[in-house]
């Protein structure tokens, strides 16, 4: 079922391994999201798949065909760049149709396909404008149209929404996801935003320092992080980490608890409320425990304690994530 397979892909920049022996299979038709902090190698890996960089080691298969040294254009992949990379001297129509023109497609056919894609992306009124005369959101859609029109084997998205404002970003996430599902085309999506990863992905791959930390479905990662890094990276607000005797009682070097898995209890860790964030549907209460350890718990609106209040909290025992001293999840 996998459409793109990576075997031992490695890319070095000088002495630094930006991508370190990556093995990965990317399922056909799904949305796979590469996520991780900046410099983790996710964008480099995407560029290796696109053929914009050549790996130092390893093999890349697309549809069971070895594409390791193939020129980018021959891989049948389309990419949407973070900067959109529109051709500034061409109209929207020419931008979207450029690849088809280079492929030698007949003019009427090109026009028909461009019109169809433009209609799908609500770009029809802007077809004869240049990129400079478009808003950020419209440029974004042109970049997507340029990828869609080629009917590629797979889409590669390199942080495509990061230049949009928050409201538009939220809308485009949904729109992009819907479009990808309608077309049924395989997609790889790179982002540093874990919330974006959670909302869009069929499958998330978490990267750090050029290596895969964990790969799986979004809720799998959320509920069963394989290690301390993934536990801390996925979810917002982030998990509460506690070490020392509190962890020892759970038989672990360190434990992590999500804010929603902490409750106010008669018996528990006592702390003082420092800040209360009111988000409307829910609130987050920031505490400092007696030994100075910070803690965040979720509270229903209307039930928040006051600033400075003293209270005791306890975790839902079954929801405590336990980690060994090596940072890996225990049992």
């Amino acid at each position: 079922m996998s459409q793109i397979e990576l075997h031992g892909i490695t890319k070095r920049f000088g002495d630094h391994r930006a991508v370190d022996r990556i093995d990965l299979a990317i399922a056909r038709g799904g949305m796979t999201v590469f996520v991780g902090p900046s410099g983790c190698g996710k964008t480099t890996l995407l560029r290796l798949i696109a053929g914009l960089e050549d790996p130092d080691e390893g093999r890349l298969l697309i549809d069971d065909e070895d594409m390791t040294g193939t020129a980018p254009a021959q891989r049948g992949l389309a990419m949407v760049f973070q900067s959109y990379a529109l051709y500034p001297h061409m109209t929207v129509r020419a931008n979207i149709g450029f690849a088809l023109k280079l492929a030698g497609m007949a003019r009427p056919e090109i026009d028909a396909r461009v019109e169809r894609v433009a209609a799908m992306l609500h770009l029809t009124p802007y077809l004869d404008r240049r990129p400079a005369a478009l808003s950020g959101g419209q440029r974004q859609r042109v970049a997507i149209g340029r990828a869609v029109v080629r009917e590629p084997r797979a889409f590669l998205f390199d942080e495509p929404l990061s230049n949009l404002d928050a409201a538009l970003r939220g809308r485009m996430r949904v729109e992009l996801r819907r479009l990808q599902q309608e077309l049924g085309t395989t997609a790889i999506y790179v982002t540093h935003d874990q919330a974006e990863a959670m909302t869009m992905a069929d499958r998330i791959v978490v990267f750090r320092d050029g290596r895969i930390e964990q790969a799986g479905r979004p809720l799998e990662l959320y509920h069963r992080p394989a290690n301390r890094f993934v536990a801390g990276f996925i979810g917002s607000p982030a998990m509460n980490f506690l070490a020392g005797p509190r962890a020892a009682t759970f038989g672990a070097a360190e434990i992590a608890i999500r804010p929603e898995d902490l409750t106010v209890a008669a018996e528990g860790w006592s702390g003082t409320v420092t800040v209360v964030e009111h988000l409307g549907a829910e609130s987050y209460v920031h505490l400092v425990l007696e030994d100075g350890a910070p803690l965040v718990l979720r509270s229903r609106p209307g039930e928040e304690p006051a600033n400075g209040a003293k209270l005791r909290v306890a975790p839902v025992a079954a929801k405590v994530h336990r980690f060994g001293s090596d940072g890996l999840a225990l049992g």
């Binding site: 696109a50 053929g51 914009l52 020129a71 980018p72 254009a73 992949l77 389309a78 990419m79 760049f81 973070q82 900067s83 990379a85 529109l86 051709y87 500034p88 001297h89 450029f98 690849a99 280079l102 492929a103 340029r146 080629r150």
Partner: protein, 274 residues
């Protein structure tokens, strides 16, 4: 607030006064070029009651030397710029898009050749040219100016190419563009405005070059710089004619210069000031 506005008006007036003072010699030359010779040397100069005339222009144009020199200037500045472009475009393109560890050193070395003072090689160039029959030929001057301006041009084009966003070229590559298509359909249209202004700036530098043109040409290949030098004496005492010839020699090039002043800063400071 009011005080600030008053300040600003005073400073603006000062700026205009200073700018007019800087341009004054040119404006004055322009005015003088339309005065009869007697008026042109009259003291104190007059601005009213002058019998304005085109006589000076007619004289300069009729004497013939101007037309030939103007043609030489166009040919020399044009051909030397084209020759330099032909060498510089591929070099700058390669250094911007396929840099190697040696690119930086190469660029600085090119720059350092520009710093060789022409007088340091006057003697050998003169003797080579004499023996090769290149003295007072357009080809000889074109060759020298092309080489002299090559480093500046490579630098200008290099900094310009570097500003083309790499992702746009990558997008073209993914869209299936070959190297040639990438060059002709994406890079060239994007770089064209910069190429044009680089051409114009180098053209003006070639037009105004006054060391080699004065030393290596006499009559046949003399461009306007050398033609104007003939006014140094005693013809220069005819102020009207001098002014008309000056205006004819500088007007087109000053106009071109206005169009490429942006390039001027970046080009002549080798990217050190943006």
């Amino acid at each position: 607030m009011k005080r600030g506005a008053a300040h600003r008006i005073v400073l603006t007036a000062l700026a205009w006064a200073a700018a007019l003072a800087v341009a004054f010699p040119l404006l004055w030359t322009f005015i003088t070029s339309f005065k009869p010779e007697l008026e042109a040397v009259a003291f104190p100069p007059r601005l009213t009651g002058v019998d304005w005339t085109l006589e000076n222009y007619r004289t300069v144009l009729d004497e013939g030397g101007y037309a030939r020199s103007a043609l030489n200037s166009v040919v020399i500045a044009g051909a030397s710029t084209l020759a330099a472009m032909a060498l510089a475009i591929p070099a700058a393109w390669a250094m911007a898009f396929a840099p190697t560890p040696r690119t930086r050193g190469l660029l600085l070395w090119m720059l350092s050749t520009k710093m060789l003072p022409p007088v340091g090689v006057l003697m050998p160039i003169y003797l080579i040219y004499r023996d090769a029959g290149l003295l007072d030929t357009r080809a000889g001057v074109i060759l020298l100016l092309a080489l002299g301006n090559l480093p500046v041009l490579v630098w200008m084009l290099y900094t310009h190419f570097r500003e083309v966003p790499g992702e746009v070229l990558e997008a073209a590559r993914l869209d299936g563009a070959s190297v040639v298509q990438e060059l002709t359909q994406v890079l060239l249209p994007l770089a064209l405005p910069g190429l044009a202004s680089a051409f114009l700036l180098i053209f003006t530098l070639g037009w105004n070059e006054a060391f080699w043109t004065l030393n290596l040409t006499s009559t046949e290949a003399a461009p306007l710089t050398a033609f104007m030098a003939t006014f140094s004496s005693p013809q220069g005492l005819f102020f009207g004619r001098l002014s008309a010839a000056s205006i004819l020699s500088i007007l087109p090039i000053v106009a071109i210069g206005w169009f490429c002043q942006r390039q001027l800063v970046r080009g002549l400071t080798f990217g050190a000031v943006k």
